[in-house]
């Protein structure tokens, strides 16, 4: 039940009004509002008492911004994220409680405020393997240690097609090809999963973030 209340309390649909204008060329006075909503978590505070909308396709279509449904598996958290920043090839999404996830072409390249953040990652080779239908590649992950040092972990990975699968994301069916990426180094091994549509977009995925955090799962709504 905690999951539902978390999701509903997030109430990001109503909070989006504050976050929306950034990245759409509005005037600089909105910058402060946006910064406030990101840095102080005020969006969450404001949004909580608001009516709690159900997550329906109609609500999603009505929203001003794109939405990402994200779960941190080890925490059992589920949250709706909206974009705060779009830059060439990368989008940073932020949750109502101030956790951000940055995606480059659908691949997780950074998190912030999760407690065990991925500070930055090289995922271009992995994305190429996914686009070309499989292959071997390496990934590089920067994590912050408890001593404030950046530790760069390199993983050797294999990407392979798993099966064709039709999945449903909030009342809409997607015909996808499911891929499985297995990665390892001498300490850790993990398996990322991708559900990719025919135009190459990742609509659902599970990706490794860090040892402390484990996997992140998201759906594009």
């Amino acid at each position: 039940m905690a999951l539902i209340s978390r999701l509903l309390c997030a109430g990001v649909l109503s909070g989006l009004a504050a976050c929306g204008p950034l990245g759409q060329g509005a005037t600089s006075s909105t910058l402060k509002t946006v910064a406030e909503s990101i840095l102080s978590g005020e969006a969450a505070a404001n949004a909580q008492p608001a009516p709690q909308p159900a997550l329906t396709r109609a609500a999603i279509e009505a929203a001003d911004a794109d939405l990402l449904l994200v779960s941190l598996v080890s925490r059992g958290s589920v949250d709706l994220l909206s974009p705060v920043s779009t830059r060439p090839g990368a989008v940073t999404w932020i949750s109502s409680d101030g956790v951000s996830v940055s995606l480059r072409d659908g691949m997780v390249v950074a998190t912030r405020a999760s407690g065990f953040d991925l500070m930055g990652a090289d995922t271009d080779a992995a994305r190429r393997s996914l686009t070309t239908g499989g292959g071997s590649h390496s990934r590089r992950y920067d994590v912050l240690t408890g001593l404030d040092q950046i530790e760069t972990d390199t993983y050797q990975c294999d990407m392979a097609f798993d099966k064709a699968e039709t999945i449903t994301i909030v009342e809409r069916d997607f015909a996808t090809r499911k891929f499985r990426e297995t990665c390892e180094n001498d300490r850790v091994n993990f398996t990322n999963l991708y559900w990719v549509t025919s135009n190459g977009q990742i609509v659902q995925t599970r990706q490794f973030v860090s040892i402390g955090l484990g996997y992140l799962v998201y759906q594009r709504l």
Partner: protein
């Protein structure tokens, strides 16, 4: 479909695939902590070294013997311990152990140790010990001990073959304690000791040992009866941070111990829970910022918005200035412990707020109104590197560090409500481990204020009202030939229970390149008021800093009012000197920040009793802000005049609170275990000395925590 079903679907998706369990099995068998709080079995030491940097506190005892021990693994091979115990009286002791050899496939770990090597030496002993792990769950230890550890089954000292002098153990202590007992090390009879530890499972360990300590002193003075050299015990480790022990000792005693372990390298969370930073905005792509700040009014508006945005992330903008394609920003970070993290966040805010024709950001972090350094970053680097692997190293390589002694930026930014700050808090003041009372403490209410005349000129004060405690139970700290600098410290505020702790004005300045200055005037601390002046030379890229301090102060009245007093000539202060006690004191200081995390400080000068001497301090600082250190002061006051402890010395510990909380804060919690505060070697306790303020904003310090730049 409802939110419920969708969220369920998502978590179902997450759960239905096998989860990675990436953590490596950590099969290190950590040290068992003995009743002495050191790696050992029950009373006997082992050669096992705790993890580098580990800190532990042990409370344990049997019968009337009670020991509280604070331990620190100073270096991978070197342990240090401070102990406060009740033997026949309260006693302080220091131990050190050095691991000569790590455990190999065949070779055991070998260590040499000194127990109670300083002071009165009631536990004085030395040992060489070897420990071997057999299989995965059995550890066997054997050693040879001298002093107390050579008092059961003792034999003539084998070191006698080197020099017959080793065969007798002299009493090397001085009546006031506190000195190193090197004259008796490894002298007198020697004896063997040993024991085994058997790990039953991850939580339980069984212990047995043969103790070579006869407890002669206890038998003689407190009627302790030792009937067996064999001790048995069990430890329970329900979690990584705690170890509980139960013992059957010396044939008739039941003992208990509890050890709490902290690893400074493991914070609440590695990267912290503070809010995500504002992401980098890339120019030309949906940027909110103006194309340029062409006119003065556009600049003024731009700086105003920048100030407001910086404030939302906890920064205070002091001023900003556009010069060509460069934007210089002077600001104060009162929120993030790591100045590097603040620089990273301010820089990202600038990518959002700075006009698009700006290519270069010059950041000038400031504290107490003075700029500490200037860090020049390329906007293009920020745009390109964000969220890439290796971004932290690359931005550091490209950053330019310099002095920031230049003038204030052209456009100043006034923060509303910054001028007057106040607060009322509860306080707890503890003094630990003095000669009579293990703990003295007061609780009460503290009211504090700060009024800013300029960002670098601040008036501040603190008033305290005691509610309860025993700090006013004035002990009989013996008089000495010195003026009562600190020995009568408990009298302050004792009668009224309240008073002005401090009330002063401090002025900070940048007299020139690489130079920093401070002048503080007023009631500077509980015991003294007057004027304190300081100047510090610290080039931004230098690991060496030099400072000079000159103070003229007078001794404050015991009522903590506005008056001053003469010094006391007898123990209850009914007889005083004729004039108010005033003194000119000062020091020249050298600070060196070693690259391996150690930091040394030497102060040479005149102390508050008019004595001349030097203070030596060495701290180990972890990159995440933890500090553990020790210091001592030697002056021309003879040990017998100084009184108990012979000279001033202590151990200090500073814990960054963001380590414990996981959320950003510059606050720290510190503890100081020092010998009895007396009159020789006492320094003025003035707020806001320059070095620690300046150093945090210099690259030598910032590079230690630069990993936080992108956080």
């Amino acid at each position: 479909m409802s939110a419920f079903t969708k969220s369920f679907a998502l978590t179902h998706l997450a759960a239905c695939v096998v989860l990675a369990s990436p953590a490596v099995a950590d099969d290190d068998w950590r040290a068992t902590y003995s009743l002495f709080g050191t790696p050992g079995i029950i009373d006997m030491p082992t050669a096992v070294a705790p993890k580098d940097g580990e800190i532990s506190a042990t409370i344990g005892g049997f019968g009337t013997t009670q020991r509280a021990t604070f331990s620190f693994q100073l270096l991978p091979r070197l342990s240090g311990n401070f102990r406060y115990s009740y033997i026949d009286t309260f006693d302080r002791s220091f131990d050190a152990q050095y691991q000569l050899a790590y455990e190999g496939d065949i070779r055991p770990a070998i260590a040499i140790g000194l127990r109670d090597f300083l002071g009165t030496g009631r536990y004085s002993s030395e040992y060489i010990v070897a420990t071997k792990t057999i299989g995965s769950d059995l550890r066997v230890t054997g050693g040879i001990g001298w002093g107390r550890l050579g008092s059961v089954g003792g034999f003539t000292n084998p070191l006698g073959v080197i020099d017959a002098g080793f065969e007798t153990r002299p009493d090397d202590s001085v009546s006031t304690g506190g000195t190193i007992l090197s004259g008796q090390f490894f002298r007198g009879d020697a004896a063997f000791f040993g024991g085994v530890e058997w790990r039953v499972n991850d939580e339980w360990t069984l212990l047995a040992e043969y103790s070579s300590d006869a407890y002669t002193r206890e038998e003689r003075l407190i009627g302790f009866e030792r009937t067996s050299p064999l001790n048995f015990g069990v430890t329970w480790e329900p979690d990584d941070w705690v170890q509980l022990g139960g013992y059957y000792a010396y044939g008739n005693q039941i003992g208990l111990s509890a050890t709490f372990v902290i690893d400074p390298t493991e914070p609440a969370t590695d990267s912290g829970f503070g809010p995500a930073p504002l992401p980098v905005a890339v120019r030309g792509e949906n940027v909110i910022a103006a194309a340029s700040w062409a006119t003065p009014s556009e600049q003024a508006t731009g700086v105003d918005i920048l100030g407001q945005v910086l404030a939302t992330d906890g920064f205070r903008l002091l001023g900003a200035e556009v010069q060509g394609t460069s934007l210089r920003v002077r600001y104060e970070n009162s929120k993030f412990r790591a100045e590097s993290q603040a620089i990273g966040r301010v820089a990202r805010i600038l990518t959002q707020a700075a006009p698009q024709n700006i290519d270069t950001f010059v950041l000038e972090p400031s504290r107490r109104g003075i700029a500490l350094s200037s860090v020049t970053l390329s906007r293009g680097d920020l745009e390109r590197l964000e969220n890439t692997a290796g971004a932290s190293d690359r931005i550091y390589e490209r950053a330019l560090f310099a002095d920031a002694a230049g003038p204030d930026p052209a456009i100043t930014y006034e923060t509303e409500n910054a001028a007057f700050l106040w607060g009322v808090y509860p306080y707890l003041e503890l003094s630990l481990f003095d000669g009579e009372q293990p703990v003295r403490g007061d609780v009460g209410i503290e009211a504090t204020f700060q009024y800013e005349l300029r960002p670098n000129i601040v008036a501040a004060g603190t008033f305290r009202q005691r509610i309860g405690g025993n700090r006013d139970e004035i002990g009989s700290i013996g008089v000495s030939t010195l003026p009562d600098i600190r020995r009568s410290g408990l009298r302050y505020g004792a009668e009224s229970g309240n008073g002005i702790e401090n009330l002063f004005v401090a002025w900070y300045g940048r007299p020139g390149r690489d130079l920093y200055s401070r002048v503080s005037v007023g009631y500077l601390e509980r015991n003294f008021g007057g004027i304190s002046t300081e100047v510090l030379w610290k080039p931004t890229t230098s690991r060496l800093a030099l400072g000079a301090e000159l103070n003229y102060v007078a001794q404050r009245d015991f009522d903590l009012g506005f008056g001053f007093r003469p010094s006391c000539l007898n123990s209850d202060c009914t007889d005083t000197s004729d004039d108010i006690y005033d003194v000119l004191s000062g020091h020249v200081s050298a600070y060196y920040d070693f690259e391996n995390g150690f930091q040394a400080q030497v102060d040479v000068g005149r102390y508050l009793a008019g004595d001349w001497g030097a203070t030596f301090a060495l701290d180990r600082e972890f990159d995440n802000g933890w500090k553990v250190g020790a210091y001592f002061t030697l002056t021309d006051v003879p040990f017998e005049d100084f009184g108990e402890g012979s000279f001033d010395k202590g151990i200090r510990l500073e814990i960054p609170l963001d380590w414990a909380l996981g959320t950003p804060t510059r606050d720290t919690s510190s503890a100081n275990l020092q010998s009895l505060a007396r009159d020789g070697g006492a320094r003025l306790s003035v707020d806001g000395r320059l070095y620690n303020i300046v150093r945090d904003g210099h690259p030598s310090q910032m590079q230690d925590n630069w990993g936080r730049f992108w956080r």
